[in-house]
Symmetry: none
Subunit: 181 residues, 4 copies
DNA sequence: CGTTAAGCGAGACGGTACGTCTTGTCTTCGT
DNA sequence: ACGAAGACAAGACGTACCGTCTCGCTTAACG
C-alpha cells in the first residue's frame, strides 16, 4: 500500500472531478477507468494505486458531493427531524444525478461486496446513527427503515412518485410504529 | 423481429437452464452471453435473436423460478394476507440464490432502463396488484411500500437482519397506517 | 444429390443473376449466400441443394458471362490468332467487373481445391485446348503460358499496365520460342 | 497510431511465429486472429494495435521467411542470373508451405487492396528491381514478366508442372525477347 | 547538494466479453 | 416433393474495458 503522505492532492481531485464529469455527461455507462484516466490526464496506474477500481472512485466522487450537503439538523422533535431528513432526501436524490448515482452504486454493490461494505460504512451508517440516537423507545432500526426504505425503494424501482407528500406520509406512518409517537 | 411461432422451445429452455446453472455455480459474474451459449450448446446469434442481452435472459430465468412458487393466498384478513406474503418473501429471497439474483437484477436495472421496465412490469406490478385490490381504504401504495420496501431495502443494503420477526413488524407497522387497520 | 430434371430453371437463373448483381454493386465482399438468397428471393437451402457454396455459384455466374463472349476465331495464322486472343483478353478482363471477378475467383481457388479444379476444367482448359491444337511444333503449353501468364500475372498483381501493346509484345515474344515462329 | 518504440519485440515475434505455426499445421483456413492470439498467448487487441488484420500478419510472417533466403546473386551473365533466380523460385515455392502461402496471399489480395499494395511493395518490387537493373536493353518489365509470370501462373492455377526444366525454358524464351540475348 | 525512492503520465499488454456477421445444416410451412 | 423462409450451431470478426506491467520524467526526502 502506497504512502498516503506522498499523494498528490491535485491528482486526487482531478480523478474525482473527471469521474463526476463523466457521470453527468454520459451516465454510469460512460464511466470506465480508461475514460477517467484520459479525462483527468492521469495514468491508469495512478488510479489503481489509490483505489481498488472504478466503483471505489465513483463512490468517493459521490460521497464528496453528498457530504458537502449535510441534512439540516432540527432537534426540536423527532417528527420534525425525520420529516426534515426525508424531505431533504427527496430534494437531493429524486430526479438528480446524485440520486441516479446512488442507485447505480447500490446496483454495482450487488456484485461488489467491497463497494457494498464501503457504502454501508460511509454513507448509510453515518446517516442512520445520528437519527438512531434520537429514537430512544421501541425499535430504532425499524423506524428508520420505515422512513428511508420506501424512499430508496421507489427511487430504485421507479414504480411510483417520490415527493414531499410521500416523504411526509412515510414519516407519519413510521412514527405510528414508535411507542413515543 | 423474428417469428415467435418458429421458435424452438427446447432451445428457449436450454438457454434459461444454462443461465440458471451458471448463476448457481458462479454467481452473477459468471453469467455472460458467451458462457450461456457454450453451456446451453447454442449459438450466440440465437440468444441475441430472442433476447436483447444477458440481462433480459437472466430476468426471464429469474421469473421462471419466481413464478413457479406463487405466494399462498389467504383471503381471511388483510393482516393475515400481508403477513403471509411478507414471510413468504423472506423465505424465498433472503439468503437464497433467488434473492441474490433479484438484487443483481435490480442493480443491473439501474443502468438498463429496459430491464428496469421489464422488472416493474413482470415482477413488481404482478405481485402488488392482487394485494392492492385488497386495500380499499387509505393509500394502498403507501401500505404496500411500508411492507415491501423495508424487506427489499435490507436485502439490498444488508445493513440488518431480514427474518420472520422483521416481516411481522413491518406488516404491523404498515397496518397502523391503514385506516381500517 | 437431387434430381436434375426437377430443377426449376427460373430459380437457377435468378440465383446467377442475383450473384452477378451483387458483384457489380458491391464487389466480391458483398457476395454471401445469405445476400444471394435474399436478392434472388430464394431459400438458402435451395442454393446449397444445387451448388456446394458461394464460390461455385460465383464461378457459374462468371462462366455464364465469360462464355457468352467467345473469342473470335482467326484461323489464318498462329500469330494472328494468338494476337486476337490476347487482345480479346485485354478487352474483356482488364479494368472490368469480369476481370476483377476472375481475379477473385482465382484468389478464392487458392483455399478451395474444388473451385480450383472447376476453374481449370471449365475456364482455363477450354480456352487453351483450341489454341493448343494449332501449335504443332515445340512445346504448346510453354507458348500458351508465355502469352497468357503475363496477362494474368499483371492483372493479378497490378504491378504494370495491361493493354493491347503489351498483348502484342507477349505474343511476339512467345512466338520466338516457337520453332515455326 | 501507436509508438513503435514501445513495441514489445517478443510479442511481435510470438505473433509471427504463431501465425506461421498455424499455417504449417492447418493451412490458411486455420489462420484467424483469435487463433493467432490464443497460440501466441497474446491479446487480440495487441494484434489489432500493430496490424490491420490477419492478412497483414500473414504477409509479414511470409516476408520474414521469404526474406531469410535471398536468391543467390550470379553477376556473370544475365542468362545465368535469370536462370538461377527462376530455379530458386521453383525450389522455394513449388510444393512448399511458402509457395502455398504466397498463393493464398495473392488470393486474399484480390479483395484486400492494402494487402495487394503491401505485397507489391515488399515482395514483388524488391525482387524485380535488382534484376531489372541488369537488363539494359529492350523492355526490362517484359523480360521479367516472361520469366516470372509463367512460374507464378502455373503455381496459382496448377494446370501444369513447375520444375527446373520449365524454369530453364521460360528463361531461354524470355531472353529471345531481349535484344542483347 | 546529490542520490534515491516514489509518484506520476503514458500506454502496451493478456484477457474476457461484447454484439455482429457468415457459413452450411435443418425445420416448418405453403403450394 | 420442391421451394421460401429462416432458425440454428459454430465460430471469426473488430471493439471496449479491466487490471497489471513497464517505461521515462519529475519530485520529494534523506544522506
Amino acid at each position: 500500500m502506497p504512502d498516503q503522505s506522498r499523494r498528490n492532492p491535485q491528482v486526487h481531485q482531478a480523478v474525482l472531478d473527471a469521474t463526476w464529469e463523466l457521470l453527468v455527461t454520459g451516465g454510469w455507462s460512460a464511466v470506465s477507468v480508461d475514460a477517467i484516466a484520459a479525462k483527468a490526464g492521469v495514468g491508469k496506474r495512478t488510479i489503481y494505486r489509490w483505489w481498488p477500481g472504478k466503483n471505489a472512485v465513483a463512490l468517493e466522487a459521490f460521497l464528496a458531493r453528498a457530504r458537502s450537503t449535510p441534512p439540516p439538523g432540527s432537534p426540536a422533535s423527532l417528527a420534525e427531524t425525520l420529516r426534515a431528513h426525508a424531505r431533504h432526501f427527496v430534494d437531493l436524490y429524486v430526479g438528480t444525478r446524485l440520486g441516479a448515482l446512488l442507485c447505480e452504486l447500490l446496483g454495482a454493490a450487488q456484485s461488489d461486496p467491497d463497494l457494498a461494505a464501503s457504502l454501508r460504512e460511509h454513507w448509510f451508517l453515518p446517516r442512520r446513527e445520528p437519527l438512531r440516537a434520537l429514537i430512544t423507545a421501541g425499535d430504532p432500526d425499524l423506524v428508520l427503515d420505515l422512513v428511508f426504505a420506501p424512499l430508496h425503494y421507489r427511487l430504485l424501482t421507479g414504480h411510483a412518485e417520490v415527493d414531499h407528500a410521500f416523504a411526509d406520509k412515510v414519516v407519519t406512518a413510521a412514527l405510528l410504529a414508535h411507542p413515543a409517537g
